[in-house]
Amino acid sequence: MRFGHKYAFLLPGLLVLIAILIFPILFTVRLSLSGWNSYNPNLDFVGIKNYIRLFTSDARFWEAFFRLSFFSFTTVFLQYVLGFGLALLVWKDILFKRFFRVLFLIPMMTTPVIMTVIWKTVFHESLGPVNDLLSYVGVSYNWLSDPVVSKFTVIIVEVWQWTPFMFLLLLAGLLSLPKEAFLAASIDGAGPIRKFIYVTFPLMAPISIGAIIIRLIEASKIMDTIYVLTSGGPGTSTETTSFYIFIKGLREFQFGYAAAMSFTYLIIMIISLTVIVNVLVRVFNGRNS
């Protein structure tokens, strides 16, 4: 009897998604096998030439991919730790609890492409406030133009923007934890740290994995932040895969090649995320047992 119902629940969403996406996805596959560019906007067939070029003679793509991995892991890790910490801070007794909860959500509501312009003015080396305030303690950094420092600038902006995402999901998770588990732990005489390690953290595992995965996906698409802050520079020191694909696609109009890169990226990401999910499940559950 339940058999028919389950499809009635699942299929409307699934089919709508597939209906909208089927053409763009197939078109992109076909595009990746063509030489479509600025002077040849045709779906001619060039075989796997674009893929060969990508795998044999485009070191820049792979450098960008490793840089992207660095950015994604660092920012998502920081967002998770900070988001969890903040959620714990405003979970229970603290003055102005509700004020802080709203306040901490605000950064993710800003439009990245606009807010990053503000960040660029904040970090502007000679006209912005950061170096101006730091000058009182006698230091200044080239926030946007030093190959190393600019990586941290990108990370700071990403952490500012998206920590609220983790914060909200984890706070919602904390607030829905069953009280019984804590009662039992209290009876055993566990202190706050033991309670966190043995009760809170394992119970938060599913929501944590979900949140980390979705953030990894989003963080890997990082685009506006880099475009506005540094355009991938200085040199190529902040260039990521998504930004590189953007340059090849919408700047140079090598759509065939950009499509091949997108697909390669998609497949690498699906494989990596599958592996990461398994690792995360083990990390979180390992503590439990």
């Binding site: 560019n37 600025s38 002077y39 080396e125 355009s231 040199g235 700047r251 140079e252 109009f253």
Partner: protein
Amino acid sequence: MKQRLRHYIMPLAVTLGAASTASGDQWSDQFPHIANTGDIAGECSYESMSQKDYSGRTLTINTHAVPVMGEPTALHAESFAALTGATVDVIHTPAGDLYSKAMIPFQAGQAPYDIVFGFSNFIRDWLPYLEPVPEYYVNMRQMQDVTQSHIDVNSWDGQMVQFPIDGDRHYLKYRKDVIDNPEMQAKYLADTGNELRVPQTWKEYAEMASYFNGWDWDNDGELEYGSAEVMKKDDLMYAAFFSRSVAYSKNPRTEGGFFFDLETMEPLINNPGFVEALTDWVEATSYVPPGGINFGLGDEINSFGGGQTLFSFSWDDAFVAAMEDTSPIKNQVGVAPLPGADRVWNRDTGAWDDTYNQAPYIVWGWTAAVAKKSKNHEMAFDYLCFFANDANHQADIAIGRFGVNPFKKSDFVPEIYVERQGWDPQIAQEYSETLLDMEEGSTNRVFPLRVPGVFEFTSAVATGTSKALAGQLSPQEALDEVAAEWEAILDRVGRDNVRDAYAIGVALEDNLR
């Protein structure tokens, strides 16, 4: 030079005289924008446009963000609508996206915009989708006032496909209160043994910029620096690099190509001339403001226009910002041609020619064109013609934020800037002469690269030079990488396709017209 200038002044003096009597005519009452001159008779004057009836029709325009180009587009659209009864929809797009925003519909076979604004170096990629400018407009009196080089950058092999609405070039801007200041000159001579003057070579430029870097030479309480340049790896930086390269690499004795050897299509981008320019540029990172290697055009304008640096070179904007009424350095900035070099690479002999060389870079700039698939060709060209009519144009060039700069012969008259914008007469004189000489005087000019897939080539330059500026590669390594990338692009696009297109620009450079 002087004679030619006078030749242009005569008719304009008449126009100006006529204008002053004409001001307060019926059109300037209705359209206060042209209050200074009133309507000026011509093919696309307010009077002529008011005879047209486009009521019930809609013109759609994709233009730049406000205010640069975007505001005049919208303003003239409003006037055009009032005069002709047409509905004009204008949308605004950031400069970096103008190409793709129009190119996606073009490639998909659509024409959502009747008029697309863009840069003149898009010309080869947009060519298949553009409607050539009809003979009527090409031959009209209003067009005869446009300088030949701006006719050239808007034309493809003799056929005009983009409509000249603005003038662009790269030139040197400097702080007169330093360079022309006897105290500073004495101090500089005492400290360096050299004369402080408008830099004639990039080496002089570097010496002066280094000397005036990092101290408060105008006593405003803030530190000043040597030079503000577009060094951010974006859609504009390669133009700055070419401006620094022309003196070392554009040799009037070796014809047949600046970017490529037209015969073999071998990229010249890694020859010693370009390497020397890039070496200079890497050195320049030591005399730009903090964070200067991440400066885009906007930062350059803020920096030089805000009085932070001694020098700047590139488009008009930084100079115009510095000359705004509210600017603290109004009338303290000078204009000069780009610096030259004491030697120039000769690729025929494979050696340096030890002679002074200077070459104007007729950089690409704003232009507009009509889509081939548009159903409103006549209305669209009328709009563009109206945009650039004498009354609108003269009012536009007086408003700095509009970004409309001289491109008509009648623009190169110092009096306009003195009377309407309160410029110092000497600065206005320098400005007019420098610009006009670049337009019409030199026979050693470089035109922008205009070939199929132009962004692949320029993007490779941006990436390579940016790596050198960041210290990832030496100038030679960086440019070798660019040359290798150019070879790969040539293979993909087809050497002959690129050669056919490049030959058109080389013909202009070699004065074969």
